[in-house]
């Protein structure tokens, strides 16, 4: 077969045109499709999957509900779900895939601070929007992240004064896992303890994942404290509460007041070890409102597990999808810039009450609550703020609502030093 020159040229030209045209055709087809794609990135496997799967489920449930009621801007929402595999490096790779390759403007992602820090550069460089549902240590002011979980002042500003005034406990033993979240929480706690006329007798840390609590509990016993403030996370929590009881301490006399112990940890340790202890969170499954009861009911039906528990980060994972929907509808645009521009000031009636994304720092105003754990593994709400509390991610460094460090202009680093 002979190939003459003219045929060869036409053929190459056709291929070349095709190659150039292809991406345009492709993206036009994608835009024309009647769906809006969003990324969902939590761990489906690995050590953190037990919690992070529940966050995925809550996100999927919110999307399913939105779709059932007509979608966003008349289009169905489609979730592109990736697995972070409990590993920050994998989180970074998958975030790059969602943001760069799939070109998704918005991703609902991350449970741990380590994974958030790992994906942050991707979102900031590509100007995409990240919705982050977990309570965290603050000290961050990204213009590309919408933070819908609690920051330290929303877990501690009511907790510490309440412990001192209502429980009448004055000597704190602060204990935590050895990483950034517990250490920042301890900083805020100390400021609040001293301001309210209490004192702290110790500030101790154990390795993340440590499960040998013999020495620490012994130290708590002999420290002369009358309350334990726990910022212990993960599976260490369970070993801690069990050792506490096994060494003969009781929450009646010496209560553990915790910032991380949620319904999930209580179920895992066996409720008898936690009865009488306290936790501060903006959301508990036990919140007795029709909205929350219906939410728990819907969630259990959605995951097909009549005993499934709901918790703070799960509720945030759910309502942040609705906040995103409102921002998209306000801007009439799904691009990241439009969403991040319109999200500030959005309010939503979440299962746990009203939440508002603050324009200033894109953190969310939430209502702090304190619960005492009961024998059935549920918290009994013993105290709640009358209204949502303004989020202050830099409260450990002296930030107040009158003197914000994190503003739409970015972080004011001068204030941080002073």
């Amino acid at each position: 077969m002979s190939i003459n020159r003219r045929h060869f040229l036409t053929a190459s030209a056709a291929i070349a045109t095709g190659a150039i045209a292809a991406p345009t055709v492709f993206s036009r087809a994608a835009a024309a499709a009647d769906s809006i794609k969003v990324g969902v990135l939590f761990s489906q496997t690995g050590g953190l999957s037990i919690v992070e799967r529940s966050l995925t489920d809550a996100t999927r449930m919110a999307i399913a509900e939105i779709n059932a009621s007509g979608g966003v801007l008349g289009k169905q929402v489609e979730a592109v779900i990736e697995d972070g595999a409990s590993d920050p490096k994998t989180f970074n790779e998958k975030a790059s895939k969602l943001v760069i390759q799939d070109r998704l403007p918005t991703v609902f992602a991350c449970y741990t601070s380590a994974s958030r820090k790992a994906v942050l550069p991707v979102f900031e460089k590509r100007k995409a929007a990240l919705f982050y549902p977990t309570y965290y240590e603050g000290f961050e002011c990204s213009k590309n992240v919408v933070y819908t979980g609690a920051v330290p002042n929303q877990q501690l500003s009511n907790f510490i004064p309440w412990i001192i005034k209502t429980l009448g406990k004055k000597k704190f033993f602060i204990v935590g896992s050895n990483y950034i979240y517990p250490r920042e929480m301890a900083k805020v706690s100390k400021i609040l303890i001293e301001k309210n006329g209490g004192e702290w007798v110790a500030d101790e840390y154990l390795e993340l994942g440590h499960s040998e609590w013999g020495s620490m509990v012994n130290k708590i016993k002999s420290s002369g404290c009358d309350v334990v403030l726990s910022n212990v996370v993960g599976d260490s929590v369970i070993a801690f509460y069990r050792e506490f009881k096994n060494q003969g301490l009781s929450h009646d006399k010496l209560p553990i007041c915790a910032t991380v112990t949620s319904e999930i940890e209580i179920a895992a340790m066996g409720p008898e070890y936690a009865v009488g202890s306290y936790t501060s969170f903006p959301y508990f499954q036990a919140i007795d409102t029709p909205a929350n009861l219906a939410f728990v009911e819907r969630y259990r039906k959605f995951v097909n597990d009549p005993k499934a528990v709901t918790h703070h980060a799960l509720e945030s994972s759910y309502f942040q999808v609705y906040l995103w929907k409102q921002a998209v509808e306000a801007a009439k645009d799904t691009s990241a810039a439009a969403v991040l521009g319109a999200i500030g000031g959005q309010s939503y009636a979440a299962p746990g009450g009203k939440v508002t994304v603050e324009k200033e720092n894109l953190h969310t105003a939430l209502t702090p609550r304190i619960a005492q754990w009961q024998a059935d593994g549920q918290g009994k709400i013993v105290d709640a703020y009358p209204e949502p509390v303004f989020p202050l991610p830099y409260v450990a460094y002296g930030e107040t609502q009158q003197n914000l460090f994190c503003t739409p202009a970015g972080l004011d680093a001068a204030k941080l030093k002073g």
Binding site: E204, E212, S215, I238, A239, K245, A268, E272
Partner: protein
């Protein structure tokens, strides 16, 4: 002071529980068994499962766990380890692979998770075992409150050490095993069935890990990754005590436990951990073969 010493004793007994099995598989057989921690994990899960499905208590779960993990150990020896005797680094890699397999098997409910079936008690979540009434709480000795359960662990670990000593030094199988430890070729030449003895020793070491797992389940969290840090601690004890020496393992577990407990009492747990590592490093620099060693293979 008494309670600090007691905590140290208790930490030592937990170390000993894990190290006893290793002292046999590593010490006696020259196999770096990275799956040892997974045997502890399987033991702990046996406690969870037997209480969930058979209503057995912690004590009754111990012989069941011993059987389950001993059989598992036998299978690992037959399928993997037997082919690798004398190849130290290969046993490390192969048993590490086995460890990952076992972990994932538990996490994925033996693969049924792919079919959407979950088995209560398995899966990636955290499990727990409740203690019988009489093992919870504390008793007072000279003004110090001592945890009943920790005393129980100390007792059981000493009993297991005594049992192991008896098997090693007062039975013919033990004598054959000690002969293999000294010189496997010579032992084989004397008519000892080294394959059989090795398999039995591996199964027994794994079984001990299973019992340790049941005891761990009583005060630690049960989850698929729980064994991994324990195997490191176990090796610290065996290496410091001297490979192949039962007495060495017992003493070094006691010493490391006390160092850990005392340092944690005067400073904190993180420094205590660093001090433990420093001591082990110092010991193996000073005595590369450990505190109690003899010439062996």
């Amino acid at each position: 002071m008494l309670d600090t010493i007691f905590i140290g004793l208790s930490l030592g007994s937990v170390l000993l529980l894990v190290a006893l099995g290793l002292a046999i598989t590593y010490g006696a057989m020259g196999v770096i068994n990275m799956a040892h921690g997974e045997m502890v994990m399987l033991g702990a899960y046996t406690a969870v499962m037997t209480s969930l499905y058979l209503g057995l208590g912690l004590i009754a779960a111990m012989p069941v766990a011993f059987l389950v993990t001993a059989l598992m150990g036998l299978a690992i020896e037959r399928l993997v380890v037997r082919r690798l005797y004398g190849r130290l680094l290969d046993t490390l890699l192969a048993t590490w692979g086995v460890a990952i397999l076992i972990q994932q098997a538990v996490r994925l409910s033996f693969g049924l998770a792919f079919a959407g079936i979950t088995i209560a008690g398995l899966g990636p979540g955290l499990q727990n075992v409740s203690l019988p009434e009489w093992l919870g709480g504390v008793f007072s000795v000279a003004g110090s409150e001592i945890s009943v359960y920790r005393s129980f662990i100390i007792l059981v670990s000493l009993l297991l050490a005594a049992l192991t000593w008896f098997l090693m030094y007062r039975t013919s199988i033990g004598m054959q095993l000690r002969a293999i430890m000294r010189n496997p070729q010579m032992a084989a030449a004397c008519g000892i069935d080294t394959n059989r003895i090795n398999a039995l020793a591996f199964a027994y070491g794994s079984g001990l890990a299973g019992v340790a797992g049941v005891l761990m389940a009583g005060f630690k969290t049960v989850f698929p990754d729980m064994g991994t840090p324990m195997v490191v601690d176990g090796f610290l004890v065996v290496v410091m005590g001297g490979v192949g020496s039962l007495v060495g393992s017992i003493l070094s577990a006691g010493i490391l436990g006390q160092i850990n407990g005392l340092t944690a009492a005067v400073s904190n747990d993180i420094i205590a951990r660093a001090v433990v590592f420093a001591v082990v490093i110092a010991v193996i620099v000073w005595k590369p073969k450990g505190l109690f060693s003899y010439k062996g293979r």
